[in-house]
Structures are given as C-alpha cells and as structure tokens.
C-alpha cells in the first residue's frame, strides 16, 4: 500500500471516541513526520522571442543523450509528450522515436546538433529540411536532466514471533527532479528560450507495527509543472508569467 504525501499543513486528527484515543496519540506522533513529507518545486521560464505555435505546426520532445552519467528518462519524455497533447488546448506532438527514425542518423546521440548553429548546418544537408517540413515540426524541445535520490536515512526493523509480527522505525528519502527544457524554433533557426524545473520530494515511511509509506513523487510533479510551462511558452508571446507552483 502506498499513500501520497498529504497536504503539508493538513493533519486529520481523529476526535472523541475512546477507541480513537490511541490512534490520536499515534497521529500526534506521526504528524510531525508527515509534515516533512511533501514536494517543493521551482520553475524558471525564460522566453526570448514572441514566437507561438500556429495551427498545423507540431512540436517534438527529445532527450539529450550525450551525457555519460545521466539522461532524461524515457518515461519522463513520454509523460510530457502525452500530457502536452491532451485536453481541449492540447498541442500537436510528434512522437519522438518516429521523428528520430525519420531523421536518422542526424538525431542520434553522437550526431544530434548541440546548438542552433549546428542545426542550421544540419538543415543545409540534402533532404533534411524537406524531411523536417514533412513532419510538420516547428519547435524542437530538448529535455536534459534526471530524477535522482539525493538523500536518505532512518531505518525500520521488523520481527516475527509466535504471537505475530510487526515493524518499528522510520525511513525517509529525498528525490530531486531537475530538468531543463530548451526550445528551438526550427522556422526561425533560433533558440526560443529555456525552462528550468527543480522539484524536490521527501518521502517518509513510519512503521508502528505496519509500515505506512507516504510517497512524494517529484518526477510526476515535474512532468505536470513543465508541461504547463511548455504549453504557456508555446502559446503565449514573450513575457508570460511563471505557471502554478506547488509546495
């Protein structure tokens, strides 16, 4: 059983009846622990053009994969792509693997353009610009970053005997989801801007007889936040404000 972290200030204390007194004590013990469980996020969008996406134009979201020790997870790319295309104000998203296949080999990790100058040179190669036009992709969004465990501690001890079994203790861990989305405008052959997302999530698992995991999901929060920022980025001219922030 996994529970999501409750709102940071909401402690649902049981009231009145005698049987619940022990639960209330338990709740009082656990409440400070739960208060430390939660997600904090920071979004920093920077848009340097007033370009917006038009009808019939699409975006493609690709992972930067030239780093030796990290790369944006495929499930995160899929999450952003799916979320961006959903809803009544959904944006047309070209599937990333299909785009890489159509443009093969120019977007493989060792070949992918690292700057808009590289992109300009790439588009001069025979057939490349025509193929990009065929995909309908106007904006290319590079996702760079990863979700990593940055800290963990505590411990839980479990024991079993003739009379039963139980656990005691407290474990916690902190995950940090840091991603940069760099938006390139293929039509203008320029960088349209970047969005930086940093979402930290602390999970706790107290165990008093049974372990109760309260799980923070910073990667899911980063996906939601970044999706909303990208949507605004692509549909609002220069100078739009920061999107909703959690935590």
């Amino acid at each position: 059983m996994k529970l999501r972290c409750p709102p940071t200030s909401a402690a649902n204390a049981p009231r009145h009846d005698g049987r619940a007194r022990s639960a209330a004590v338990l709740g009082l013990l656990i409440a400070p622990l739960l208060a430390s469980c939660g997600v904090t996020s920071r979004m920093e969008p920077y848009k340097q053009t007033d370009a917006v996406i038009d009808d019939g134009e699409r975006v493609v979201i690709l992972a930067r994969r030239h780093h030796a020790n990290h790369e944006a997870e495929q499930e995160f790319i899929n999450c952003i792509s799916d979320s961006l295309s959903k809803g009544k104000d959904g944006i047309a998203v070209h599937p990333s693997s299909e785009f890489e296949d159509k443009m093969y080999p120019w977007f493989e990790p060792s070949m992918a353009p690292l700057s808009t100058d590289d992109l300009s040179k790439l588009l001069e190669k025979p057939g490349v610009l025509e193929q990009v036009r065929e995909t309908g992709v106007r904006f290319l969004i590079w996702l760079d970053g990863s979700t990593d465990r940055v800290a963990s501690g505590g411990g839980i001890t479990c024991a079993a005997g003739v009379g039963g079994a139980g656990c005691m203790g407290l474990a916690w861990w902190e995950d940090d989801a840091r991603y940069d989305a760099t938006v390139w405008d293929i039509k203008e052959l320029s960088s349209a801007g970047t969005i930086h997302a940093d979402v930290k999530g602390r999970s706790v698992m107290p165990a008093i007889v049974i372990p109760l995991p309260f799980i923070a999901r910073p990667q899911a929060a980063a996906c939601r936040g970044l999706t909303e920022q990208i949507r605004q980025f692509l549909t609002t001219p220069e100078g739009y404000g920061a999107g909703p922030e959690e935590g």
């Binding site: 790369e71 159509k102 093969y104 080999p105 990790p109 025979p126 057939g127």
Partner: protein, 214 residues
Amino acid sequence: MRAVFRTVCRSTLTATAALLGACVSSVVVDARFPAPLIEPLPVRMGILYDEELKNFVHVEALPQQSAWTIDLGDANLALLSPLFERMFAETRTVDAVPVAPALRDTLDGVIRPRLEKFEFDVPIGERDEFVEVWMQYQLTLYNPDGSVVTEWPVSGYGKAELTGRREDSVRRAAVIAMREVGAAISTKFAEQPDVSYWLRERQDEAALSADLGS
C-alpha cells in the same frame, strides 16, 4: 539450412553458457532500423555478409552474475541491409570476394562487414542505473578483383536505463549502439582518406568512360 545451423549453434552456445553459470539470460536483438537520410554515393557496391555475421551470438559469463547469450544475427542484417542500400547507387549481395568474373564489370567494389568486438555491462549496485553496450564492426572495402582498398573499424556505444527486465535493457542498449554504428558508417564512410581517394578514382573512370562513349 541457415535455420538449422543457427539452432545447433545457439543450442551449443547456450549449453556452454549454462556450464559457465547457474542460469542463463538470453537476449535476441530484433529491431527495425531506419534507412539513413543521406545522398547515395555514385558507386555500384557488392555486399558480402559472412555466415559469422548473420549468425552472431555473443556468449559471456559476467562476474557475480548469470551467463548471457546475446543474439545479434538478424539485427546485423536489419541494420546493414537498408543502410548500404541507401548509401550506394546500386547494391547486390555477393557470395565471395574476389567476385565471379561475370560480375566484375557490374560492380565498382565490395564491402564486407564483420562484427569484431562486443562488450557489455549490466550493473549490480543500486546506484548504477544504466546498462552499457559497446561494439566494433570492421568494414573492409575490396576492389572486385579481391584487392583490399581499406579496412575501417567502426564502433558504437549505447546505454539504456535499467528498468524492468535486465534483458530488455540490454536489448535497448544494443539497439542504440547499433544505431550509432549505422550513423557513423552512413556519414563518415566517404570521409575516410582511402575511401575518398577510391571514390575519386571511380568518378574519374566513369567520366573517362562517358567521354569515350560520346
């Protein structure tokens, strides 16, 4: 015949691997590889696929882990066939080099790809998140009479997140490494000094033939 050979070969390798470790992880790399988006080189090329390449199976027992068999035979053909078809104006498979005298006037050269090295790593610790694959092919370019023009080693590296089954991660990393090899071959083959010189010679010959014909 090829299927029988392959089954016998795979069974033997798997049995060998089973002796090396308590259990065996088997991976068959089956993937579709796209044709590259490049301009074809104006030469007629014969392609020689050895049985070894077509039936390539890597067997290795990793320390503190199970033995692995990684079958790349079909993937080799799936990668290289569309690649060479797009890279050259004309291609045809040949059985041997030097090519039969009847074919010599129909080909400018022959390419023989071989998979020389295959290395991989599957992490044990929780902090290591990626499976890694490194492979090196050797491309030999021959004249139709069998003389070697050049030998070119081409390597590719791929890594994949360690999620779900380890076998799936190894398969994904191998596909990424093979795509890298395909990228290098398709974009850098003509830039190799010996190949570049050979291509110029073929173009000069073609121009001379055209002049004599007109």
